[in-house]
Symmetry: C2
């Protein structure tokens, strides 16, 4: 008990440090220059669009959120695991998730114009500013995540004197809150950003032949807003969810595996402590992000990540020695400090390998992307065929890495080893989000520079910054979906325990398990299909609107008349919010229906079925989309005829196809499979 309380206090400390660092970074960034009037005007349009979207999105989500709050509260009459406590946990998760996304986005849409201005002073300074801006989101996510869990636990146990069992279970409600926000944020933001992108590209770039980010394009503001609401706010909610759910799942498992009734020991608290250690390590790590003499931007980020990982592992090593001194008893033996530490090393190794594999499949330094670029020479169709081949190949290596990770961490410390590995995978969260949020900032900075007709030298700084953003985005998604697979498995282990299942319950030769696996397997497929379709339909409406403006507004293409940016923003806002609801309900209603029809066993199997097809689909989609994107960039760099060649046209088709895969459907599968697993646990806790 003493040790677990110490861990709790240390977590508070780490969360305050993280939030403090985020506030400091925000202060630093916001003190910089905004640039000339034209730049400020453009930035303001982007900000307004982004605020408008997010406030309307949150209003839509709030309706769902309030209904769920009421249900969770009301269920308290049926089961001790529900009631106000769980409902409040849920609300805490939901609100902090929304808040992290919102603040991060606010800072991002203010940093973009400042980065464009700073770009006049060279690459190193612009990189530094954009990265600091991104780190606001990064450290808010880890800080809020730690605060939510530790704070909720503390208030529940120490102030309201609730039993620890209920408090631990109520944390699942907290995780559910973050998941629910996350799936809608990923869907809404993802549909928005890609519909705007498709509209801007297909009519502007392809039909009218004007360059990217050209102010004559009516969809250009919507496109820039999209980067922020999708890649910044949506991504933040997604990784916040990954961080919180994984930590909570590991804690709950540690509690069920080791704790005596009414107590919470170090096994339950250690996953939280790993998060705390990691977030402090990441703060130190940010100071290693420095552009070297070679001007290698990705290298600067890698330095930061490696530093964070090494610092975190060293601290975890000593923490395991200290907190697990003497070992902890487990049904099949004793978990030693070394086995804990080595499980954490495995988790970190999984992260590193997943990042490397993702880079291999999505960077144009390597054969997969080059093969797509080469196949573009023979046309649109061969580009797509080769891209699909790369897409289908991409999940193999990550699956092997995760399978081996499961195998070895289980050997070290049983199920708890898997939980520790999952928690340790998330050590780099703060760093990963900082780098990822940097992406939309530099993307926007380039857009603003283009629209404000700044000097060529500015784009010469923002372009390489932006190009790296594509890789970091792909890497984040590989990281998120990989940890999602592990987290979902930990949740499933908890489900097994919650239904009091005997070891034989989920036997594959049980027909109900097969039924459940099939039902679970279809959910990510159908969910992915609906997300793709939503982008297609909303994008089609943008295409029509842009065409309409080109036709009806006289002088628009000569730059004499101003396009109606607001109507584009409005259409894509309305459509993406309308179209996020149906797919968002799939992971909520799917498990409920399966439970009513086929019962608990089929429901458990459904969870696993969704993890399997979901994992493969998500990795395929995000890697495939990234590969298509960079194949286009590779051609634009002057290969196979360069810009304007037939190969380039084919590559643009591939890029457009990859967009909804990598930025809408693929990343939304991550929270989706966790919602399924959490709903499954909540269902059995109802005792209905």
């Amino acid at each position: 008990m003493i040790r677990s309380t110490t861990a709790l206090y240390l977590t508070f400390l780490a969360s305050f440090l993280s939030i403090g660092y985020a506030l400091f970074a925000a202060y630093y960034v916001l003190s910089k220059q905004d640039g000339n009037e034209r730049m400020r005007e453009i930035a303001k349009a982007i900000q307004e669009g982004a605020y408008a979207f997010l406030s309307r999105e949150y209003k839509s989500i709030a309706i769902v959120a309030v209904i769920v709050f009421a249900i969770l509260w009301a269920l308290g009459a049926k089961s001790e695991h529900f009631g106000l406590l769980t409902a409040l946990g849920y609300l805490t998760g939901a609100v902090l998730s929304g808040l992290a996304g919102y603040i991060g986005m606010v800072v991002a849409v203010k940093t973009n114009v400042k980065t464009a201005e700073m770009a006049k002073n060279g690459l190193a300074k612009a990189l530094n500013l954009a990265f600091r801006g991104g780190s606001v989101t990064g450290f808010l996510v880890t800080g809020f995540g730690l605060l939510a869990i530790a704070g909720f636990y503390y208030i529940s146990v120490y102030i309201f004197k609730q039993p620890v069992e209920h408090t631990i279970k109520a944390l699942i409600g907290l995780a559910f809150g973050t998941s629910l926000i996350s799936v809608f944020a990923r869907l809404g933001g993802g549909i928005y950003t890609k519909a705007a992108d498709v509209g801007a590209d297909l009519v502007g770039k392809v039909e009218a032949g004007i360059p990217e980010d050209d102010p004559r394009n009516p969809a250009v503001i919507a496109d820039n807003v999209g980067d922020n609401v999708g890649d910044c706010a949506g991504m933040a909610a997604d990784v916040f969810e990954t961080f919180t759910v994984t930590t909570v799942a590991s804690m709950v498992l540690g509690h069920t595996l080791f704790d005596k009734a009414g107590t919470v020991g170090i096994a339950a608290m250690f996953p939280l402590l790993i998060g705390a250690i990691a977030s402090v390590s990441a703060i130190i790590g940010t100071f290693f992000v420095k552009l070297g003499k070679s001007n290698n931007i990705m290298g600067a980020f890698y330095k930061g990540m490696v530093a964070t990982a090494i610092i975190a592992l060293v601290i975890i090593y000593f923490a395991s020695k200290k907190f697990f001194a003497g070992g902890v008893n487990y049904s099949w033996g004793v978990v030693t400090p070394n086995s804990i530490f080595l499980s954490a090393v495995i988790g970190m190794a999984i992260t590193a390998l997943l990042m490397f594999i993702t880079e291999y499949y999505t960077s144009y330094e390597y054969p997969p992307v080059k093969s797509i670029a080469k196949s573009s020479v023979t046309g649109h169709a061969t580009n797509i065929i080769q891209g699909m081949a790369v897409m289908l190949k991409a999940p193999a290596a990550p699956a092997i890495v995760i399978a081996l990770g499961i195998f070895f961490s289980y050997k070290l410390a049983g199920l708890y080893g898997i939980a520790i590995a999952a928690a340790s995978m998330l050590s780099l969260t703060g760093m990963v989000i900082s780098i990822d949020s940097y992406g939309p900032i530099t993307d926007n900075a380039g857009g603003i520079a283009e629209m404000a007709e700044l000097d060529e030298s500015v784009r010469a700084v923002t372009d390489p910054l932006d190009a790296v953003g594509n890789t970091t985005k792909a890497v984040t998604k590989g990281f998120a979906i990989g940890s999602a697979a592990l987290a979902a498995l930990v949740l499933f282990a908890e489900y097994t325990r919650a239904i009091g299942a005997g070891a034989h319950s989920f036997d594959l030769s049980n027909h109900l398990v097969l039924v459940g696996l099939l039902f679970g397997g279809l959910l990510p497929f159908y969910f992915g299909a609906m997300s793709m379709e939503a982008v297609g339909v909303a994008g089609g409406m943008m295409v029509e609107e842009v065409r309409r403006q080109f036709k009806t507004i006289k002088g628009i293409l000569e730059g004499k008349a101003k396009p109606d940016y607001a109507s584009c923003v409005d259409i894509v806002t309305r459509e993406s919010l309308k179209k996020m609801i149906a797919p968002g309900l799939i992971p909520v209603l799917g498990p409920i229906i399966a439970y009513i029809l086929f019962g608990k066993i089929a429901l458990g199997a459904l969870s696993i079925g969704s993890i399997i097809t979901g994992f493969f689909l998500a990795v395929a989609m995000t890697s495939g989309g990234g590969a298509w994107d960079n194949a286009k960039k590779y051609i634009e760099d002057g290969n196979y005829g360069g810009k304007g060649s037939e190969a380039h046209k084919a590559a643009v088709t591939g890029d457009t196809v990859g967009d909804p895969l990598k930025d809408t459907a693929g990343p939304a599968i991550n929270p989706m499979i966790k919602i399924i697993n959490i709903i499954a646990i909540l269902i059995v806790l109802t005792n209905l």
Copy 2:
């Protein structure tokens, strides 16, 4: 014992009737006219290409087959389940599979020109001839399938006096033989047909702007050969495998569930009897395939199928009453005649529903295909995005149908109910292949008419016949993959028994099960990727060869010089045979490696993992490909601007992308997942 022997004799009778019918149909077809000299010349070129490919393909497969034969024989020293008997069973399956494909293809490449000639006499007569030609393959497949199983059993038990246990196990070897041929036939034929198609279309149609099947196109003969080696020989091997493996799996399960040591009762023989009943019903059914007054070709086929289904069900009803009189004891109760019959009805209902669903997703009468056609208006990329959405949606309904089928047939008669449903699903095999083989015949007939410059009126007959061929091809694949899922599950049930697994062995909360599921899940993805890539690379070589001929052979495009057809045929033959080996080894080596690394439990989970992702991928690929194909046809029928419009160009891209999905990767996944499951069973039977 008496009842089971009666069933065996009835099966012999049915197999002789089927083979007799096939020979009669072949005689009837071959007696028809060949057409003029030009037509005969073209037909001869196609025949030579097809024979050349098949003999080279069989030589390649023979090397693998002989090695496997030796291994199976040699393993006899280690385990009583192997040795000469199993090796011979394996050889029987392999040889008969090859033979059915070969004879069917020989008849098809002779019927094509006769159908072109007959088309001068109108639609009804041409349809009848093409269908009779197709039914040679159809009834050889069922006839040989029944003969292989019944004959092998009879000779082993009654002539060589082998114990029934060993004979039944040796049947798994027989099934393995058919699977091995099938995966290579699907891969080799599939890569061939689509590489030739891509080459012919991309350079001929798109670049040179000459029509389909134009004699000036150097790849035109290769393209027509491809229809036969892929859609006829490859498909025949595939469905032969489906039929044999499902029947054997059901028999083996019936034996393990019900029989006392040393005996074989009716439960083991009844699945075979269902096959026998179905093949005789199908003979009667063929006489119902008649073009009505409305000239609805698909309607004519449906009449035949409905007649077959009704006749088969009536006979199965009386057969269950007769053979299961008094019921059969099962560990949890008694299996009654009614529960057997109703399980068979469920199997038939699954087939009907899968056919309807496939038609819904692939015919341009329904929204999915229309939505792809509509999205073609905004370009290549939106066509692909919408096509992918349709593709990802397509497996949902089939998965639900199969899950419900499993649920209800299990309720009726336990695992044996699932086996009966699977066997009953195959009742329509003879009919389905007849209709499917008809596809390449009419496709070729159209090609010959075009190349021989026959009158427009001939194409007016062959074109509608050909269009229906697209739907029937898609329907066959839906049928094959659906039954594959059930058959693979039955095989898994047998695997569970073979390793003497307790009910707890495959628990989803066992980490080895998760490891196995992940490994199994990745195999179909990787297999699909390699198949797609093979088509891409081989197709690229065809593109280069056709371009080379257009450039170096003077007067080729003016029709003054003859293209070098043979070099195209040679290139695509060589490439497809080279590229089929690596993916073909995945399902053989994957399970062996997993077993060595992680043992029996992970291996069993690997089987299930491959069934799940394999099922979803295969349905998605075959349905998606069919939908893209018919979206193009819908536009060619005059919608959205018709032929030559921008929408049409986008639809051609979609069609080309769909080709390797629906004709190479998708259908090859069907035998692939069964090989994995059979290898798994064989591994545990080795006792190593």
